[in-house]
């Protein structure tokens, strides 16, 4: 069960071709098969990934001038899903239009709307201007297809005590530091914000590799904001201990911005779209590469444990979790998602009610 009336990341903008002859991109999102392409005006479009004629996936075809052409018998569909050409005949058969989905390109993402198209409001898409500001925030991105329910990945990011156990060699370092971190959570209508402080601590390996601190110890912060259903923006960093990070003086040390975009593929798989931007040595492309490589190692460690967790949950479908103190943010996130699902279910039930006599 997924929240449908909201925006999800369908792809990186760079994944979607546009020249005639390019391959379109097929992807399953919320259990539905869509095909993504650009028309000749450069506008991105998302259609049901199924030719109306013989059911072949349109992602086996290619981009052409008039839209997307099926690779089997050559039918062409435009970006609204209308069939605009059937080779060998001039009449377009009825019932040959296929479903289209609202798709919006913004900040290097393509956001898709899988619910009621009438409700799709692009102004509700969150901003991530750092992707367009490579002078201050040069970045690099990737996508990992993870075989777990998307909630497990959100859960992962809501409890950072795992850093000391899963990511010892990169951003984790000493487990104690993470367990003892001061966590300040602000609950929000559609998500939450938290900031974690690890004061006067030894910086973890990734931080030390990236910048030269003035002192042996640093004040380290992690700011996260969750936007349900699947976006998490993160700003983390560290400066020399006692030089004022807690009062807002956060320049001059290590600083990164991470975007975590989580999109359900099926009930037991999701896509993890992430980017890493370095807020230090911005003129040095090696810094961006190095940060990307460190984060890639880190997220691949999560990838392993998340898939193991999913396998284990499937083995024991009737078992509950045991809550611990570190579960606070996660619990709130889960509640927001549950409330959103309930609201959609209620709305949907209301629609199908008969009018009163």
């Amino acid at each position: 069960m997924f929240i449908r009336n909201d925006w999800y990341i369908a792809a990186w903008a760079s994944e979607i071709g546009s020249k005639p002859g390019d391959k379109p991109l097929g992807r399953k999102i919320l259990n539905e098969d869509v095909v993504l392409f650009r028309d000749q005006q450069g506008k991105v479009a998302a259609l049901e990934n199924r030719c109306a004629h013989r059911g072949v996936p349109l992602s086996c075809g290619e981009i052409v001038e008039k839209g997307i052409q099926c690779g089997y018998h050559g039918l062409i569909f435009n970006s609204t899903g209308a069939c605009v050409e059937v080779p060998g005949q001039t009449v377009i058969p009825p019932r040959s239009t296929i479903r289209s989905y609202p798709l919006v390109e913004k900040d290097q993402f393509c956001w898709i709307w899988m619910g009621d198209p009438a409700k799709a409001d692009p102004s509700k898409i969150i901003d991530y201007p750092y992707h367009n500001d490579s002078r201050n925030w040069p970045h690099k991105h990737d996508m990992y297809p993870i075989k777990c329910n998307y909630m497990l990945l959100i859960d992962n990011l809501m409890d950072l005590t795992h850093l000391g156990f899963v990511h010892k060699k990169t951003i984790g370092g000493n487990a104690r530091v993470h367990v003892d971190a001061k966590m300040d959570t602000t609950r929000k209508e559609n998500g939450l914000h938290y900031v974690r402080w690890m004061l006067d601590c030894i910086p973890p390996p990734t931080y030390s590799k990236s910048v030269k601190f003035g002192k042996e110890r640093v004040d380290r912060w992690q700011e996260f904001e969750l936007f349900v259903p699947g976006a998490i923006v993160q700003w983390s960093g560290a400066t020399d201990s006692g030089t004022g990070a807690t009062e807002g003086k956060r320049d001059g040390g290590f600083s990164l911005r991470l975007f975590h975009g989580i999109t359900p593929e099926t009930d037991k798989s999701c896509f993890y779209f992430w980017s890493a931007a370095n807020g230090y040595r911005q003129d040095d492309p090696a810094a961006t590469e190095q940060l990307f490589d460190e984060i890639a190692i880190t997220f691949k460690e999560d990838w392993v444990i998340l898939e193991e967790q999913q396998v284990s949950l499937d083995r024991y479908p009737d078992r509950n979790y045991v809550e611990i103190a570190a579960d606070g943010a996660r619990t709130h996130a889960n509640k927001v998602i549950a409330r959103r699902l309930a609201e959609e279910a209620a709305e949907s039930a209301k629609k199908s009610e008969p009018a009163m006599a």
Copy 2:
């Protein structure tokens, strides 16, 4: 659901061993597991692929003088399915006979009958004499196991407008030429015959590589005959434009004969037995090799799209096709198969009716 009372190709004759010690061939046909071998007289036989003793596949055993021997405890079955030896005892236990299937070797094929053995009439097997005429029709063959319902492969061969989209680099060439081809279909009781004419056209890459035409343009024909359930014979070629191909003068240019044998393995997989024979440069083995390689590339392109189509049909089990003008031959083929299935179902229902009072 498959037509059962008819002949299907089980194997190429060359696939079936005969010497003591040879491995027999296990293959699933119409969802049933059969094992194929030759007895010491060279006669091919097909049995249920399961030893009566402990259920081990007989394809794990080997051919011996008296028949086929299970590789586990050594029971031997002859070509009628009778158990003829149980190591360590002289008595053959009751209920140890396994099912045998009518199997006929002809024209380098082994044809199997999966239905009521009483109805198996070898004279109904179609002729393909070209396999025995290597002077005029040297050939080479192969078998592709394709993960799609066998009907999708028949459909593929009933609408050749796909050549211009799927096989651009070999036998397709320009898509327009295929879409504009003149198609003349003769509906038959158990299939159909069609001939397609592409007059005054540029020959496709495979044709140009194979022979030297006298003119830049050719008259090209494709003759297909479908014999339900799974045999299609094809004669195609091209001669210099305007030199009389339409009136029957078809010598001296490019000419090939293809056999397409399609046998269901399961509901979602089939075997594609095909041979390609060159009707030009018959004394040059390189011509046969070259044609085989071109057709192999071509059919592997179909292989990819057919498996994608099957995956897509499984995703949308409740959706219908949209018919287009090019679907004429396919529609008739589907009707014949549906009628044959209905006839078998009616006959089977009749059999199980009680006698009238």
Copy 3:
């Protein structure tokens, strides 16, 4: 359906680590996921392979001083399954204890009890002292995960007529010899003992490679004892023909002891723990290696046929076996297992009955 109130081999003792930082061993036994490790006193322990907190397999974690630590958020469980540490809090939450299983290390095996722990009596574990007597019985061992129901492997070892068909090149040799072997079976309450004699026969390839016989022909014996549910001890060998093997003079020729430990993993897979000990050339490590290699080839031949058999049984779920003369020991073994299962079912039904009024 498995016998639960009995000991099964969970692992070789050598498979289970003990140092802090070592990975624990995850294994599915009787359809349940367990994790095996040693505590700091060196005692082996078996727990449910699932962290109480978020359901992650504990086999993804590591051994620590206090027990086993989850690799996700760091909870620690001791060898009784009690949670002894939750990072970030001092209170241990209720319901955080996980299931532990009796596990006993003996003769280089770790034996697990999957049934009612109150009934687990270590004195009932069979002895295999040869593993501790490397002077007379040097040995080497392995474990094969076989994709078949464990009963098929027991069946395999109850009918050695298969040696002549499956193992021609190692311990089989001539099929006739095995079929004609004199088989003397003693039925027992919880299994059976049999001895097979092949008198005045040509020794099979493995025997001839291993020792130099004085004569061309030997008297060969195979003694097997089955302890239901999954242990079979074997003593086999051969001495020069007519020199008194049948009267007990069995020294001086070829002699081996094999242990066969069979543990169900799932309904369609099992673990085959086996060791091979050479009772000849005991001072020559090459003899142990050579015997191990010969037996490994042999058991891999069984592995192939057992998996083929399972596939075939799944294809024909409603079909019965046909019994032959060679099935005597197997039939008794099957009866003992069926009786044990019925006894457990009756006992379990009795427990859940209400007390009489």
